[in-house]
């Protein structure tokens, strides 16, 4: 599967890692919804490290869509919340 880290590019990961990423992803959502900024920061860092660590960077000229998309490392809890809402920050 392909994962995008916003502001950094895309990584290709073996599907076998999906369960672990999913677990962290659920944790991230929980922290976002409960407003736990420190936990959110920690989990996001862990997720990003995991993706960069086990993934293969996709070349810049690849035109493949990503299955999963992660916020950039310096994204705040509020920004991510905003992006996931209907009037999100994502242009287009």
């Amino acid at each position: 599967m392909i994962v995008r880290i916003m502001g950094e590019g895309q990584w290709k990961l073996a599907d076998s890692h999906f369960a672990e990423l999913n677990r962290l992803d659920d944790e991230l959502l929980e922290e976002m919804e409960s407003g736990d900024a420190d936990g959110f920061r920690r989990t996001l860092s862990a997720l990003l490290d995991e993706v960069r660590d086990i993934g293969e960077p996709l070349p810049d000229d690849a035109l493949e869509p990503s299955e999963l998309i992660l916020p950039s490392p310096d994204a705040t809890l509020e920004e991510v919340r905003e992006m996931l809402s209907d009037n999100g920050l994502i242009p287009g």
């Binding site: 070349p59 035109l63 869509p65």
Partner: protein, 265 residues
């Protein structure tokens, strides 16, 4: 309940699909999208240029503040040499306030540099994808009928539109940060212009300098008098002692005068 990554992916895809429904003939959509990509590339390049402009302005201000700061340090030293501890204290406390500004600005400067770097890389990534898209677009238009093209277009389209959304967010964030910094830089410009800091024009002399000049002027007269008195008395010149503000022993003077001089012409 899906996590953040999955939701974000769905949102991006929904945006891409919405963009696809624009034209009757999907091949027109290709051209339309390509135009949009080029526009976005322009915007990213302008963004990089704006960040660079802000960065340079900050650098200019940093230089001014640092110049002012070392000037105050010199003034402090001079005031102390003239025995005016109160004046030295004033100069040094102003310098401390300036140093605070300087370190704040240095942090901002680093932020901007990071932003500039990220945007430059984002522009490179987008450029590579736009080039790939153009090639693919021409292939699709040449090879498939409008009906067949639909799926091909959808494939290449979601990849590029995702990149565009990502870069769009990056540009937005860079613009916000730059605007904040511009406002701050404006405040510092006002501070520099109001004479609270040296305006670098050299026209407006600050009060510490005025006082120091007055003191040095007085000192020069004093020194002159001392020298004349010494000459009249036929004794050794006392001027060196007065200038250096220390008490030079005859032994010191002996050593200094016996040292050879290597003045470069």
């Amino acid at each position: 309940m899906s996590g953040v990554m999955k939701r974000m992916g769905m949102i991006f895809r929904a945006k891409a699909n919405k963009a696809l429904d624009r034209a009757e003939d999907p091949r027109e959509t290709l051209d339309y999208s390509y135009q949009k990509q080029l526009e976005l590339l322009q915007k990213v390049r302008r963004g990089v240029a704006d960040v660079a402009t802000s960065r340079k302005r900050l650098e200019l201000q940093l230089n001014q503040l640092q110049g002012q700061s070392s000037k105050l340090e010199d003034q402090g030293r001079k005031a102390l040499a003239l025995g005016r501890e109160d004046l030295a204290r004033e100069a040094l406390s102003r310098r401390a306030a300036l140093q605070q500004q300087v370190s704040d600005l240095e942090v901002q400067h680093q932020t901007l540099q990071g932003e500039e770097e990220k945007l430059t890389l984002a522009a490179q990534r987008l450029q590579a994808k736009v080039d790939a898209f153009r090639t693919k677009k021409e292939t699709i238009k040449a090879t498939y009928t409008a009906a067949q093209a639909q799926t091909r277009i959808a494939e290449s389209f979601s990849g590029i539109s995702e990149e565009m959304s990502d870069v769009g967010v990056a540009i937005q964030r860079a613009e916000d940060k730059t605007a904040q910094l511009q406002a701050r830089a404006g405040a510092i410009d006002e501070l520099l212009a109001s004479g609270a800091l040296d305006d670098q024009s050299g026209l407006a002399k600050d009060d510490i300098q005025a006082e120091l000049d007055r003191l040095s002027g007085g000192t020069d007269v004093e020194l002159e008098l001392q020298r004349m008195k010494a000459e009249l008395a036929g004794g050794p010149s006392a001027s060196k002692q007065a200038i250096e503000g220390g008490t030079a022993t005859p032994q010191d003077q002996q050593q200094q005068s016996s040292q050879p001089r290597f003045d470069k012409q």
